[in-house]
């Protein structure tokens, strides 16, 4: 089992090289499978069960979905040994759909057939470090002149704005803007869409691009960025082709010193 932090650039290249028939994009109810250690997260699609990941901690690239909600899954089918009875999808990107669906409530008890033999973080207290502490991207670095215009991309969950996931992204932007005494900053919000394996296209809500742009600008200003800010948004969804469509749920921030 390979669990490690993959930089977004690396991920984009690796996914592009994947044969299209190995990709699987679908919406379904997540399932939680208990084990003697941490729980496994699974999802069923077209009569087959897929393995998404395990519960670890906040440092993990894979963060489990919610019972009570459907989950949007974008993954690549592998032929590795099944985990918790599920075909392993990797890489896999998931996003919890915001509306409640109380029919998503399957919690399976411990089954002697399923154990997790990699254990970066037990279900109780940690051993004193985050499970993926080494794989965490570095925090803000000192910026040396000459100061150049820099672009930052912020990714979002489906139909969502800023969440607990974003402070690191925001801090990187605030840091760069402050270190370079940025004069101008533009934020462009995008509305994403996702092409599922059955051909359906799911678009985010119309207002989301504007919300992302405005919210980002407001938070950056609130955190002390003094650059003149311009916001814009693209209300038409980014075209979806079923390949790394999660990247369409984004906003772009350009910082000009």
């Amino acid at each position: 089992m390979k669990i490690r932090y993959v930089s977004l650039a690396w991920l984009a290249i690796s996914l592009a090289a994947v044969a299209d028939d190995a990709r699987l994009n679908f919406v379904s109810c997540p399932i939680v499978q208990d084990t003697p250690t941490v729980p496994c997260w699974l999802a069923d699609y077209h009569g087959e069960r897929y393995y998404l990941g395990i519960q670890t901690d906040v440092s993990a690239e894979f963060q489990p979905p919610y019972l009570g909600h459907q989950v949007l899954v974008e993954g690549v089918v592998t032929n590795r040994p099944r985990i918790c009875g599920g075909i392993v999808l990797e890489p896999v990107k998931i996003s919890v759909l915001p509306e409640l669906d109380r029919s998503c409530n399957t919690r399976l008890p411990i089954d002697p057939r399923y154990t997790i033999d990699f254990n970066p973080r037990p279900p109780g207290p940690s051993l004193g470090r985050l499970a993926f502490a080494d794989a965490q991207p570095p925090g803000p670095q000192p910026v040396k002149p000459p100061f150049v215009t820099k672009e930052f991309t912020v990714f979002f969950d489906f139909d969502q704005g800023i969440t607990f996931r974003h402070p690191r992204d925001l801090m990187n932007i605030v840091h760069y803007a402050q270190e370079t005494r940025a004069k101008n900053l533009t934020v462009t919000g995008y509305r994403g869409a996702m092409k599922l394996s059955d051909g359906t296209v799911l678009s985010e809500s119309e207002a989301i691009a504007e919300k992302r742009a405005r919210q980002l600008a407001e938070l950056l200003a609130g955190a002390g960025v003094t650059a003149a800010m311009k916001t814009s948004w693209q209300a038409e969804p980014v075209p979806a082709d079923g390949i790394d469509d999660w990247q369409s749920r984004s906003a772009k921030v350009v910082v000009t010193p």
């Binding site: 208990d34 729980p39 509306e99 279900p123 969440t163």
Partner: protein, 537 residues
């Protein structure tokens, strides 16, 4: 150990008794809204005598180390900076117009909180004239007849103070925040939320909720900015509150709803609100209160079951001196720092010679098992906003320490609010509504309707019923409804009832609440071990 309902606080079905008791205990009821100043002098005279009750302006000395009896043993208080002469000290003197001091609601014997037992005793001793029962917030609502037990039932039965905040909420710069939801009053047993002068539709719209005084001890830890403090709130990525003096972000761990960014802003609000002090605290008063708060440590120091808790070589987390020595701002949900480091000394103890020692050793072993249940025993935590929503999934298989992670105190380390279900239905305690029930709801109930054009609350949907919207009263966010900032877990033995709304009269009920809420299925032994553990903190 468990004070019953206070006579005369209006239990339907016992009307005859009620009238008798009200008549017997409220001869002072004048109908006035504010206790007369003269009563303060009377009360102060009464309090000259040392005892567990500490009256405002009593002028007593708070020794460097003192011990205060409670139902489980004694609480130890340490003034790290040495003994304090409280004469003229702003924490202990009545600074306002109603005769109260900070100490009125933050009593040494009660771990600088206030137990229901103390409140009831004080009512009996003063016939309800103590400034504690002042109309502003020591009564279910200021308009009710002063001095009648029924008017003060929430304070007398559950130890609750009225906390009123403007609606819609205002940002730090005073601008109104547009809430993400509509707030309606569904039930108003105190009459306050619908009152023309004090309510939601008054000229100065206010929401009244009812909360326990939080313990003003070990505040060096509570207010620590050393862990998890950033310009963005770790739980939702939004802007954190800042210290108005330094403009630096703060940990947002004060008060049930984190409305006060610092101890300094907190004390000013307390002085203007609870003490009805005109004007502001002087810089010297502020420095004195702050200095006092940051050097004060308290924890249980002896236990009827476990004996002395501060013996040399004993468990390193117990007793107030351990808190004085400990490091603040440390994440303890791990096996290096621990939340409550107990060591191994209370495990596998000898039988002991004689009954007393045997019983003591058995109790100590139970405490050690209770610690392990708190720290290692897993259960499914489901639908708890701000823990299930922060990257771990819903549900998560974790332990008590996942939420209570702060080393030595057991709060959350920063931005510590979560929805445990203490105030939100369906988990909040509500009396059964059936024709055979004689009890009636005592707390207000609000209906929250989250706006249709925004995402719903991820676990509760768009319509939520709550007794106290908690953090949402300040942030206006749908996701924050019923999220309450974790209190510290120290000095629990001295300050029942528990939870912000006083819904758990005993430690057993705290444990039973969790057992129901998360379907933990503790054994009776596990429950007793947990209770014993909590009782020595």
């Amino acid at each position: 150990m468990r004070p019953g309902r206070f006579p005369g606080t209006g239990r339907p079905g016992h009307r005859t008794i009620l009238i008798g008791l009200v008549a017997g205990s409220c001869f002072l009821a004048s109908g006035g809204d504010r206790p007369a100043m003269a009563q303060t002098a009377y009360n102060n005279a009464l309090e000259e005598a040392p005892g567990s009750w500490w009256g405002p302006g009593a002028g007593r000395r708070l020794a460097a180390e003192s011990e205060w009896p409670n139902a489980f043993g004694t609480l130890g208080i340490v003034n790290a900076a040495g003994p304090i002469d409280t004469r003229g000290h702003p924490f202990f003197e009545p600074l306002g117009t109603n005769g109260r001091a900070c100490v009125t609601c933050h009593q040494p014997a009660d771990g600088m909180s206030l137990s229901v037992e103390t409140i009831q005793r004080r009512w009996r001793e003063t016939n309800g004239t103590d400034p504690r029962f002042a109309a502003v917030d020591g009564k279910n609502c200021p308009h009710l007849p002063q001095g009648e037990p029924a008017s003060h039932s929430l304070l007398l039965n559950r130890g609750l103070i009225r906390v009123f905040v403007p609606w819609p909420p205002r940002a730090a710069d005073g601008k109104p925040i547009e809430p993400e939801f509509d707030l309606e009053v569904v039930r108003d047993p105190t009459g306050c939320n619908t009152h023309p002068e004090h309510g939601l539709h008054s000229a100065n719209p206010m929401v009244s909720v009812y909360r326990r005084p939080r313990p003003a001890i070990n505040l060096r830890y509570v207010a620590s900015n050393r862990f998890g403090v950033s310009p963005f709130i770790g739980k939702n990525g939004l802007l954190a509150s800042v210290d108005p003096d330094t403009k630096k972000p703060v940990n947002m761990n004060l008060m049930a709803d984190a409305r006060e960014p610092t101890l300094k802003t907190q004390m000013q609000s307390a002085a203007s609100g609870h003490l009805e002090m005109p004007g502001t605290l002087s810089p010297q008063q502020i420095a004195q209160i702050l200095g006092f708060e940051l050097q004060l440590y308290a924890a249980q120091v002896s236990s009827h079951g476990a004996g002395r808790l501060d013996e040399a070589g004993g468990p390193p987390t117990l007793g107030p001196r351990a808190l004085e020595r400990g490091r603040d701002g440390v994440l303890g949900n791990n096996t290096t720092a621990y939340v409550f480091p107990m060591g191994e000394v209370w495990k596998d103890l000898p039988e002991g010679t004689g009954d007393t020692e045997a019983a003591r050793n058995a109790f100590r072993e139970s405490v050690a098992r209770g610690h392990d249940a708190f720290f290692f025993r897993t259960f499914w935590i489901q639908d708890s906003m701000h823990i299930n929503s922060v990257g771990l999934g819903n549900p998560i298989k974790r332990t008590c320490a996942t939420c209570h992670g702060m080393h030595m105190l057991g709060m959350d380390t920063a931005n510590g609010w979560m929805d445990l279900g203490t105030t939100n239905l369906p988990w909040a305690m509500e009396p059964p509504q059936d024709p055979w029930s004689t009890s009636k709801p005592e707390l207000p109930l609000f209906r929250i309707t989250c706006k249709a054009n925004l995402p719903p609350h991820p676990f509760l949907g768009r319509e939520i019923y709550t007794q106290d919207p908690g953090r949402a009263l300040i942030s206006g966010k749908c996701d924050d409804v019923g999220a309450i900032v974790l209190q510290q877990m120290r000095a629990l033995a001295a300050r029942a009832p528990y939870f912000s709304n006083g819904s758990a009269p005993t430690l057993r009920e705290v444990v039973d609440f969790y057992d129901r809420r998360y379907n933990i299925q503790y054994t009776e032994q596990e429950k007793q071990d947990l209770i014993n553990f909590l009782s020595v903190l």
